[in-house]
C-alpha cells in the first residue's frame, strides 16, 4: 500500500520549530550583542579618555617649559595601546606641539575644535574614534590632547559574536529538526495514519477497516475514535440497507409469484368458462329449435314465440360470454410495444368493415402517416371497436362519414374517431365506458356494451386516456392518446 509521504504536516512542524527557535535566538543574540557593543564603545571612550588625561597631565610640564621632546616621549608610551592610531599635543593656539604615530607614515591632520563648554569631546568618524581633551593646569587651559583610535577591537569583537551566533543558530536548527522528528511521531503520525485509512476506505469502499488509536487521549486520538465510530455507523447502515433491499426483493418475488399464480387461475377460469358455460347454451338453443321444427303443428303462436325468446336469450348469453372472455384476455395480455403505423392499421380495419357490408357506402377519411408506440394487436382491437361502433351507429344514415385522425385537445395531442351517426346524450357520457352499459336499446342497435369497456381497458394499459363528445343524432367523437 503506497504510503502518503509525510511532507505536509511534518514539514510544517519542522518549519514552525525552526522558525520559533530561530526567531527567539536571533532576538536574544541581537539584544545581547547590541548591549555589549554599546557598553564596549563606552568602555573604549572611557579608556581613551583616561589615556588622554594621562598624556595631558604628563605634558603639562613640557608645555610650560616648551619641551616638545619630553612631550613626545610621553606620547610614545601610547605604543602600549595598539588601538591608538595617532595622538598629538597642541598648544593653546592650536599649533602641534608633539605627535605620535603608530604607523610610520603619518599624515597631517586638522585639529578639531573643542567646544568651549566642555573639557572633552569625542566622536566616531570613518571607522575611528577621535577624542580631544583640553589640558587644564591649575584651572587654566594649557593645551589640547588629541588621540585617534581605530575600532579594530570592536570590529573583532563583533565578528566573534557573529561567529558564535551562527554556530548557536545552526545548532538550534539541528535541534529543531530532531525535535520535529520526535514530534511527528506523536502528532503527525496518527493524523497521517488517519488520512491514509480514510483515503483507502473511501476508494475501496471497505467500511470494515479501522484506524488504530494512539491511546494518548489527545485531539488526534479523539479524531481517530470518532472516525472509527462513524465507520461503524456506516457499516451498520449499509447492513440495514442491504437487509431492507433483500427483504424488498424477497417481497417482490413473492408478489410476482402471487401475481403469476393469480393469472394462471384466471386463465384456467377463462378456459373453463369458454368451454363449459357454452355447452348447455347450445343444448338449450338446439332443442328449442328442435321443438320449433318438430312440433310446429302442435304449438300455437304464443308457444312458438316463447321458444323464439328462449333461443334469442341463449344466443345473447353466448355473445356476452364471448365478450367477457375477450375483455379478460385484454387485461391479461402482455403488452409488447413497437412502432405501429396507425393509418395503415385503420385502413385495413376500414376495408374489412366495408367488405362485411358491401351494400352500404361508408366514407372513411383516414389521416396519413399516423404512428404510435403501442402493442399492434391491442391497438387493432381498439380500432376495430371504435370504427366498428362508428359503422354500427351510422347504419341508419344514408351517407355515413367516419374520420380517423390526430388533433390537439387541451394542449395535448390525441387521436380521434368521429362519425356522423346517432350520437349519444352527453348527459350519460360517464356510463359510456362501463362494462355492459349501453345508451341505446337492443332494438335500436345491436351490441352487448362491452366494446368500449374493452377499448378503455386497453388504452389504460398503455398509460393513456380516452373520452368522448357527442350529441343526440349529431354524431360522436371519441378521443384517445397512448
Amino acid at each position: 500500500m503506497p504510503r502518503i509521504t509525510h511532507r505536509s504536516i511534518t514539514k510544517k512542524l519542522t518549519r514552525m520549530n525552526m522558525l520559533v527557535s530561530g526567531a527567539a535566538l536571533c532576538i536574544a543574540c541581537v539584544a545581547f550583542v547590541a548591549y555589549d557593543l554599546v557598553s564596549f564603545r563606552q568602555a573604549m571612550v572611557y579608556n581613551l579618555s583616561i589615556q588622554a588625561q594621562m598624556a595631558g597631565s604628563n605634558s603639562v610640564s613640557p608645555l610650560l617649559f616648551n619641551d616638545p621632546q619630553a612631550a613626545e616621549n610621553t606620547l610614545s608610551a601610547l605604543k602600549a595601546a595598539p588601538n591608538v592610531i595617532s595622538a598629538g599635543i597642541y598648544t593653546l593656539d592650536g599649533r602641534p606641539f608633539a605627535t605620535y604615530w603608530r604607523d610610520r607614515n603619518g599624515q597631517g591632520q586638522m585639529l578639531p575644535k573643542v567646544p568651549a563648554t566642555q573639557t572633552e569631546a569625542h566622536w566616531f568618524k570613518d571607522g575611528q574614534l577621535v577624542l580631544v581633551r583640553t589640558i587644564v593646569f591649575e584651572g587654566k587651559p594649557t593645551g589640547t590632547v588629541y588621540i585617534r583610535s581605530d575600532l579594530r577591537e570592536m570590529t573583532h569583537r563583533l565578528k566573534r559574536y557573529a561567529g558564535i551566533a551562527a554556530i548557536v543558530l545552526s545548532a538550534s536548527l539541528i535541534a529543531a529538526l530532531l525535535v520535529a522528528s520526535i514530534f511527528q511521531r506523536a502528532v503527525a503520525e496518527p493524523i497521517v495514519h488517519l488520512a491514509e485509512i480514510a483515503r483507502t476506505v473511501s476508494r475501496e469502499k471497505s467500511y470494515g477497516m479501522r484506524a488504530t488509536p494512539t491511546g494518548k487521549r489527545d485531539e488526534p486520538d479523539i479524531l481517530i475514535g470518532a472516525f472509527n465510530e462513524m465507520l461503524g455507523q456506516i457499516q451498520e447502515r449499509d447492513g440495514a440497507l442491504q437487509q431492507a433491499h433483500d427483504e424488498l426483493e424477497r417481497r417482490v418475488e413473492e408478489r410476482t409469484a402471487q401475481l403469476a399464480a393469480a393469472n394462471k387461475e384466471l386463465e384456467a377460469f377463462s378456459y373453463s368458462v369458454s368451454h363449459d358455460l357454452r355447452a348447455p347454451l347450445r343444448s338449450i338453443d338446439g332443442f328449442s329449435m328442435a321443438l320449433l321444427e318438430d312440433y310446429a303443428d302442435r304449438l300455437d303462436e304464443e308457444g312458438k314465440v316463447h321458444l323464439q325468446r328462449i333461443r334469442a336469450a341463449t344466443q345473447r348469453m353466448g355473445m356476452l360470454i364471448d365478450d367477457l372472455l375477450n375483455l379478460s384476455r385484454m387485461t391479461r395480455a402482455e403488452i409488447r410495444k413497437e412502432t405501429v403505423n396507425l393509418s395503415s392499421l385503420a385502413r385495413s380495419v376500414a376495408e374489412g368493415l366495408q367488405e362485411a357490408q358491401p351494400e352500404r357506402r361508408i366514407d372513411f377519411r383516414i389521416e396519413d402517416r399516423l404512428e404510435a408506440t403501442a402493442d399492434p394487436r391491442l391497438v387493432r382491437v381498439v380500432l376495430e371497436n371504435l370504427l366498428g361502433n362508428a359503422c354500427k351507429f351510422t347504419s341508419k344514415k344514408t351517407s355515413a362519414c367516419i374520420e380517423f385522425g390526430k388533433t390537439r385537445q387541451n394542449g395535448n395531442s390525441a387521436y380521434f374517431v368521429r362519425d356522423n351517426g346517432a350520437g349519444f346524450d352527453p348527459a350519460y357520457a360517464n356510463r359510456l365506458f362501463g362494462a355492459f352499459q349501453r345508451l341505446h336499446g337492443a332494438t335500436e342497435f345491436p351490441g352487448t356494451g362491452i366494446g368500449l369497456a374493452t377499448v378503455q381497458r386497453i388504452i389504460h394499459r398503455h398509460g393513456g386516456q380516452i373520452w368522448a363528445e357527442g350529441a343526440v343524432e349529431k354524431g360522436a367523437t371519441f378521443y384517445f392518446n397512448l
Binding site: Y271, P280, R282, S283, D285, G286, F287, S288, L325
Partner: protein
C-alpha cells in the same frame, strides 16, 4: 361405399344435436360415436370394445371434441398422429373452446381443421353442412392402406 364419420363427443346433448344437424343436411354416412377418448382409440386401433374390427377400414373424417373423459382430445390426436396406420387420418377439432392455446396445441399436433361449435343452432346446422360438404365430398381423403 360411403365412409363413416367418427364423432368423438361426451356430451349427449351435443351428440344428439350434431346427429340432428347432419341429418338436416342429408348426410347419410354412418356416424360412429365414441363417448370418450379411450373409446375413440379403441375404435381406431381395434382394441378393447372394438377388438377384432378391421383396422384397415378407417373413417373418412374424425370430429373430435377436446374436453373428453378418460383420454383427453389432444391426447387422442397425438396418438392418432403417432401411429402409422392413422397418421394421415383427417381430424377436425370441433369444440366450444376458442382459447388460443387450444388452437396452437391442436394445429401443432397435426389437426387438419379447427371449428368452434356455435351456440346458435342454426349456425350449427350451417357449420355441419359446410363440414359435410367439404370433408365428405370435396376433400380428397388419403389413400387407404388396402383398397
Amino acid at each position: 361405399m360411403d365412409k363413416a364419420i367418427l364423432l368423438v363427443e361426451d356430451n349427449p346433448d351435443d351428440e344428439a344435436l350434431t346427429l340432428r344437424a347432419l341429418k338436416k343436411n342429408n348426410i347419410k354416412n354412418e356416424v360412429v360415436i365414441a363417448h370418450d377418448g379411450a373409446e375413440a382409440l379403441d375404435y381406431l386401433f381395434g382394441t378393447g370394445k372394438y377388438a377384432g374390427r378391421n383396422t384397415d377400414v378407417l373413417p373418412q373424417v374424425v370430429l373430435l371434441d377436446l374436453k373428453l373423459p378418460k383420454v383427453e382430445g389432444l391426447e387422442v390426436l397425438r396418438r392418432v398422429r403417432a401411429d402409422k396406420r392413422t397418421k394421415l387420418l383427417p381430424v377436425v377439432i370441433l369444440t366450444s373452446s376458442n382459447e388460443e392455446q387450444d388452437r396452437i396445441d391442436g394445429y401443432g399436433l397435426g389437426a387438419n381443421s379447427y371449428v368452434r361449435k356455435p351456440v346458435d343452432f342454426n349456425q350449427f346446422i350451417d357449420a355441419a353442412r359446410h363440414l359435410g360438404l367439404y370433408w365428405l365430398i370435396l376433400n380428397e381423403p388419403p389413400p387407404s392402406r388396402r383398397s
